[in-house]
Structures are given as structure tokens and as C-alpha cells.
Assembly symmetry: D2
């Protein structure tokens, strides 16, 4: 199967490397330097979106945000203009619901397919083909993506015919992640002022109560003060919580915890921590408690 | 070792049953009917606090709230008046930090010991001796509690010389638990309005992201609408979040997420859900989203 | 001076009627029925945007939301395409900052002027020429609007060269208004449960403390349960708080109170109160307190 | 009429000075230095609570917080022990609802009267007899306080037979005040990042919208950075919001805005601003927006 993979950041690169051996793969990245190494791995490197997707049956996108996805899809020489009739755009980026809806409508009108397939998992899980994939879109189109999904993930959650549903659930998940991190951060500052070291608070709460590897990973990063380099940049967390709130507004389903998260993330960004790891959100709880 | 166990609600009864075989045990409960069965198990049943603690080296309390603990400790014929010099009050109830501090000071002045030892775990874990115990107080006193702790729990977290520290961390833990429940409840309502069944939202988020048995247990109860009988009553969750906020006020460590939780729990109580299980908190997110 | 006035809702109609006598006025409304009566008042009625703005030196817009403003400005036959070089678009609608910025850039590129001039005041104040006008944009362009402003308002606040600044401040004002309403609503429910009638709470707090006619107006509507017809529809309040939060996100200036307001307004909308007056927001505080 | 006045802080002193000429007055203050000057004004200075209230028909208290009021009322040689049967304790301090209830019950049991009569107004209003008085308690007792109220205030709001009701409404009022201050502070930081000076934001919003002298006073203090000396100390604002939240918890009437206020005030206290004027709350919004 001919597959094009667009967007070679840390996640995208890890995913594309999984696909080289099993598929007839063309890659593309706006910054060509990240694409070049793939030629030695056996993939073709497209010089443009149009060139990359020519002849592809599936085109996977894995981009940083809605603006990048929209530019690549709707811009001149973009996906809408270049994709062959019947070919499928598989949007694995974390996108806003409105953007995902807009892509679905545009591709349908152009006689092209569109499947939303955002993922949970960090780059190492991507390297190992251990992602979890949330897939939504027309059933026959999702089925055609299955070989790619099988190579990338340890499981696929089918979420129905409406593509944007998968992006909605992905945003809910990222909001849950930030909630857990904020909750731990507040507990650490509270505990510290009560005389308990953050590592103790983490150990007790996650051993005796939560038992979540996610809490271990993010809580551990907070305890170690491991904020750089960013695995998942704080500003991307803010982006996702903001997108969740936008979707919640459209759905009329209030998310009061997310409102708090957005305020804290905005404060962190205003203070210059936006490019640090999401774990740096914990700095705000410390500062609000007068800890330095 | 002579041990007295005061407070035989669901948790207290399960814990006291663990202790019958290994210790010279006297039990007491304000409502005598809950104590009576222990006589057939080989324990003595005290007719009063004074009678129950006479000769006891350790006196464990496991009561519903601060008011009950204070009445039992400071009331006429209570623990302060009855405990032998050198005997230790082991407060395993979930108490406020100020109450725990007050108990520590009063017992010290009376020449009695005081160890704070709240637990994580539900009645079945108590039955099985699988609780997690947070222990704080003077080192030598905590050491003397070890035989009892070993029988009740799968592990003890020592938290230093200041007893109330253990209660502070227990409150932080219960706040974290309610946070996770509220976060899931918001995600369920959000998801439902996006067309995703709550059981799917739970399955995806807990399989792919959080991987927490706690989320599974509480989220599962929400999905099934299993609100009665209450395992952990909603009004007790409100009590604990309120105590956490009080402690946070005294420590000057803001807990913004807990502020939201308190509002939601208060709304649930005002609407008459206080005696249902904590999982009934999810009703508020549904109602706020216009779901019925 | 030739003036075109686009958008004849309750506010727009009241404003346009003020201008008929003093200016050479053409009006336009998408729904022609609202425009027709102006022909008997001495104004011309345009059949299209293009026709309405032909020859106009100033074109005032007073529309319900960003979508209407964008359609009218950027749509086919819209303002950008129709306005004469040097003519000025005076946006008196309450708009988002990003939309206002986009309009400013587009008009500048087209060689047209753009002044942001949102107002405070309700229809009766507009009838009486007693609005307050927040004006921003290039100084010479703002100066050319002065005759129109003088007819419509009791005062103009000049806010500098950057047009969107005026819209930002208007959004901050509407957020403040909703904050006062929410604060009163919470006080009413709190007071009611303490045995104090809402009218007493309002009388005491506004006589002895706040002394604000705004509080009197909105608090009075709450006390009387006067939710229909809507003077200022609740869904428009939600729109404006949402726009304020979007602007705050772009500016990196958290608005935690506004986060609460948005949740409450969303709940009100989800429950079907969106077309009632903003004062219906008070229903949420009552319901959360278990009052019926 | 013989009147005793206990508590001679800034407010208490100003109020007591109003009473010297018209009543047979004895004053008392824990720190004697503040009481001494009253002997030259024609009042007696009591050496103890017991001495001060001997023979008094009305005993007014104006103390800083619940702890001071409770110590003075319930402590050895305190009001409960010293007040003559039939004499009335007029609690003009800002007290928690639970404390006020406890005082009402204790005085009734002791055959003494108790009227709750907290006030709105700052020291200059007290000097001028221009306070607003919220009065609640048994009707005949409130009636007997009227001569004192007439001298101190420009108006009395009768709030029924249940004394604590007056304190509940006073707490609601102080919460409203802090809400307005926080709302302005957020608007100032938002405006500043949009290029609008805080004094402009204040002028526009209070001229065109809110028109509140309270907003003018507190907003003006923020704009001028006039945080010291404290007219109304920030930590007292935190105390009152905390008391309002406690009362709300007992009444089951959520106050979500107050939850935000408490977090911000706690942060301000943790950062060392507690002894500054309440207007210093604005520093938190600035810091959260990255302004310095």
C-alpha cells in the first residue's frame, strides 16, 4: 500500500520509521532537514505536499497544531488540492473539533476520504508500535487504515462514523492528563508546607491510591524538576485544554476543572515556562504557595 | 498486647475483626448493637469508653468525623480522662489537621501518647489486611504500633514526628480521589454530548492513558449508576475536601481544584445526593450539561 | 456628511434614528423589514451592502456577533469590496479582538479606514443619545467620526491608535457586568437559605455598599424574575465572556472569574435559558443551592 | 443610658467617640493605651471587661475577629460571666455565622440579650455617624439599641429575629466587595497587556458602566498602588471570604466566585501581602499575567 506521511516532529518521525519496512512510503516535512534521513531508510522524500501525496492511498498527518494542519490541508498545493479521489487523509494530529469537522466536510466534498485517528503515547511508545489509536470516520475508510494502525499501535478504539469524535475524546484525555498533573502539583505544594517532601507525597499517593503510571511519569518529572528538554511542551498542553474548552462550549458541556487548568497554564506561559515540559506547570502551585 | 478499638462502622468493624486473633482486644461503639457480635469472636465489649480503654496499651479510634472523635476524646469519661499514662491513642480516622494537632497537644500534656495513622483502602482491603497506613508521631510511639499496623496493612508510610502530617496527607489523597472522579465525570458528560457513551470514554481514557484501578472503580460506578448503597458517602467526600481546604488555608497553600470540588459536592448535597456514593458527584456534571 | 448604517436590531435601530436628522443617511439590514420604516423617516434604504455604502464617507456597523460582522465585511459584495477608498468602517458592534484586528488589517490593505467604536448603554440610552463610546483607531479617522459620536453618545473615550483595543475594553466591561450579576445571584441564593429575601439582600448591599445603578438594574430584574423578553440575551453574555477569554488567552492575562462565569453561562444555555435575559443567570445559583 | 464599648481599633475608636456626648459611656480595650485618651473625652475607662460592663444596659463589641470576640465573651471574667441579666450584647464586629449563633444561644441561656449589628462603612463614615447598620435579634432588644444606632449610622436594616442573619449578610457584602476588587484587578491586568493604562480602564468601566463609589475607591487605590497603610487589611478580607465560605457550606449554597477569591487572597498572603490593604490583591492578577 502506498502511504504518505506528513509531519516529522518527534512523534511523526518515530511513527514514520515504523512504517518504512511494511509500506511504500513517502515522507514530507516543511523543514526538509527532518525528512532527509528517511531517504537512507528506504522511503522517498517528497519535495512538496503535492509530490509527496501523488499516488498515495493513505496520507497520514502528524502536525503540531490546527494552524499547521489547516495550512497543509487548505493552503495552495495542499491536501485538498492534491489528494487523489478516493484516497484517505488520516489525521493523527491532536486537532480541535471544529477543525476536524471542517476537514471532514471539505474532503467529502472533494471526493476524498477523511479519518480522524489521534493517539495516546509518547515517542518511545511510537517507536515500539505501542500507541493507542482513537479512530473515527466512515467505517470502510477506517477499515482501510487498519494495516497502518496495526503497525503503529497496540490497540485501536473505534469511535463511530463522525470523525471529529475521535479528536474530542483525545482532547478530553489530554485535559485529564493535565488535571492529574495539576492535582499532584497542588498536593506537592500543600504537602511541602506541611513538612512532607514531594517525593514522599508522590510515593504515598500513587502507591496507596492512584496507582497510575501516568502519575508516576509526570509526578516524577515534577519531583526531579525535569522540565527541559520538553517531552510534551507546556504550551501544547495549554493549546489542548483551550481546544477542549472550545469544544465544550460548542457542545454546551461545562468543564470547570479545565477552566482552572487554562488559567494556571496561561500564568505559566505568561511567566515564560511555555517551552518547558508540561511538568513545569507545578511551578505555579509552588509560587502561589509562596515557595521558592 | 492489650488493644482497644473504638468505632465499629464498616471500616472499623473490618479492621477490628483482623485484630481479634492476635491481640487482647476490647471493642467499643456508641451504638452497642454494632459491638455485640464481637463478643462471640473472642473480644471483650466495653460498656463505655472508660471501661473499654482500661488497661489498654494502644487505643485505636476509627470514627466518622472530627466531631465524633472530639466528643470521644474530650467529652466526659472520654479518652483524655480515661487513657492510662503512657498508653497511646492511635487515630486512624480521617481527621482535620487542626483537630489532630489539638489531640496531639492534649495527649502530650496528659502524659499519654498520640499517633496519627489514617489509612487508604476500602472495607474489603481492611478485611484482608491490605490497607496502606500513613503514620506520624513520636518515633518510639509509632514503633509500638507496628504489630497492629502489620496486621491491618500491606505497608506503612512513616511521615515523621508531627502527628497531624499524616492527616494532612490523607486529606490530600482524598482530594486527589475526588479530583479524578470529577475529571472523569466532566469527561463523561462532554463525551456523551459528543456522541460517545460513558463506558467508552472510561475504557479509552483508562486503558490508554491513566491506567488507574481507582479510576476504574469510581468511573465504573458512575457508568453503572451504582450510587446506592454508598461505599464512601458523598457527604464524607465533601467533609474531607472541606478539611483539606481548611488545612490549605492554615498552611497558605491554595488548592484551586479543590475549590471547584467543594462547590460541586455542595451542590450535590443541596440537591439531596449526600447519602449516595461519592460516584453520584457525576450527576452534577450531567445536569450542568443539560443531560437528564 | 454621507453616512451608511448597517444592522438595525434594537440597538442599531435606536442609533440610526438619532442620525437621520443630522446626516445624509442610508440604512441597510439583512432582513429588509427592519429597514423599511426608515424610508418614512427620511433615510434611504439600501437594497444591498454595496448599494448602501455607495458614496458613504462613514459606514457604521452594529451587528449581533463576529460571524455577522465577518460575513458583511468579507463576504461577496461586502464592505471590503464595496467601500470607497478613504471611507471609514466604524465598527460599533461588540467584536472579538482577533476579528477586530483582522478587519483593521484588511481595510488598511484596501486603502479604507477602520475605527473600532463599541458602546456601553442599552436601547433607551441609544434613543436619547446617551451612549458611552470607546473609540480607537488612527487619530485622523477617529476625528472624522466625531460628528456621529456626538449625536449618539454623552461621551467618547479615546483609546489610542490600535483599533482592537476598544473592543478589548468593551469585552472587559461586559465581563465585569456578568461578574456583578453572578456575584449578586450567589449572594441572593446564600441569603435566601439564611432567611433573607433577595430584595432585602439587594437593597442592603446596593444601598450600603455598591451603590451601582447597574447592580440595581440587573439585581432588580433577578428579584422580579423578569427574564423575558430579553433586554440583553444570556447567550450574548456567554458570547462576550467567551470572546474575553479568547482575548485573554492571546494576551496571556488569566481571567479566573471569567472562567467561572463561562461555566455558569454554559450551564444556563445547556438548560435552555440562552434566549432569556442575562438576569436568568441567577437561576443557576438557585438550582445549585437546591432552591426551586 | 449606660453603654459600654469594647474594642477600640480604628473603627471602634471612631464609633466610641460618636457615643461619648450622648451616653453614659465606659470603654475598654485589651491594649490599654488605646483606651486612655477616652478619659479626657468624658468616658470612663474600664480596667477589665467585668469592670467596663458593670451596670451597662448595652455592651457594644467591635473586635478584629471571631477569636477575639470569643475570648472576650467566653473567657474568664468575660461577657457571659459579667453581663447583668437583661443587658444586651450588641455585636457590631464582623463575625462568622457559627460564632454569632453560639453567642446568641449562650446569652439567651444566661438571661442576657444579644443583637447582631455589623456595619458597612470605613472609619471616616464612622466618625461622621454615616455607617449603615445591619441589625438582627429579638425585636424588643433591637428596639432598645436604636438610640445607639441612630448616633452611629445613617440607616438601619432590620433583618429579623435570628441574630446571625445580620452577620451572614455582612459576610456576603464583604465577599461582593472583594469580588468587585478582583474583577477590576483582572480587567486592569488584561487591559494593560492590551495597551490600556489601568487608570483608563477604571475611568471607562466606572463612568460608563458600574458607576460605583466603592469601585472608585478600591480601583483608585489599585491604580495609585496605595497599599500601605492598610485601610482594610488584606488578611481580614481573606478572613471574611473564608467565613462566608464556611457559612455557605453550612447553608449548602455554593459560592463559586468566592472560591476563586479565597485562592487569590491566600496566594497574596503566602507572598507576604497580608498586612497590606485589600487593594494589594491586584498584585496577584498582575503577577499571573507576567507583569512586574
Amino acid at each position: 500500500m502506498r502511504v504518505a506521511f506528513l509531519g516529522l516532529g518527534r512523534m511523526g518521525s518515530a511513527m514514520a520509521r515504523r512504517l518504512v519496512a511494511d509500506f511504500d512510503l513517502t515522507v514530507f516535512n516543511r523543514d526538509w532537514a527532518k525528512a532527509a534521513p528517511f531517504s537512507t531508510l528506504g522511503a522517498r522524500v517528497g519535495g512538496s505536499v503535492r509530490e509527496a501525496v501523488a499516488g498515495a492511498e493513505l496520507v497520514v498527518t502528524m502536525l503540531a497544531d490546527d494552524a499547521a494542519e489547516e495550512a497543509l490541508a487548505f493552503g495552495p498545493g495542499g491536501l485538498l488540492a492534491s489528494l487523489a479521489p478516493g484516497a484517505i487523509h488520516v489525521a493523527m494530529s491532536t486537532l480541535g473539533v471544529a477543525t476536524s469537522d471542517r476537514l471532514a466536510a471539505a474532503h467529502a466534498e472533494a471526493g476524498q476520504g477523511y479519518v480522524a485517528a489521534p493517539v495516546f503515547g509518547r515517542p518511545p511508545a511510537a517507536e515500539a508500535g505501542q500507541l493507542w489509536i482513537l479512530a473515527a470516520g466512515p467505517g470502510s475508510q477506517v477499515a482501510r487504515c487498519q494495516p497502518v494502525f496495526s503497525k503503529l499501535g497496540q490497540g485501536v478504539f473505534p469511535l463511530g462514523e463522525k470523525a471529529a469524535t475521535a479528536h474530542a475524546l483525545k482532547l478530553a484525555g489530554n485535559t485529564l492528563l493535565v488535571t492529574v498533573l495539576e492535582a499532584l502539583s497542588e498536593a506537592f505544594a500543600f504537602g511541602e508546607k506541611a513538612g512532607i517532601a514531594p517525593e514522599t507525597t508522590l510515593k504515598v499517593l500513587n502507591t496507596a491510591l492512584l496507582k497510575s503510571p501516568l502519575a508516576e511519569a509526570y509526578g516524577g518529572a515534577v519531583v526531579r524538576g525535569a522540565f527541559e528538554p520538553a517531552g510534551f511542551a507546556l504550551r501544547l498542553g495549554l493549546k489542548d485544554v483551550t481546544l477542549a474548552l472550545q469544544a465544550a462550549g460548542a457542545l454546551q458541556a461545562p468543564l470547570p476543572l479545565a477552566g482552572i487548568l487554562r488559567d494556571r497554564l496561561q500564568e505559566a506561559t505568561a511567566k515564560g515556562y511555555g517551552d518547558q515540559d508540561l511538568a513545569a506547570l507545578s511551578r505555579i502551585s509552588r509560587e502561589a504557595a509562596g515557595l521558592t
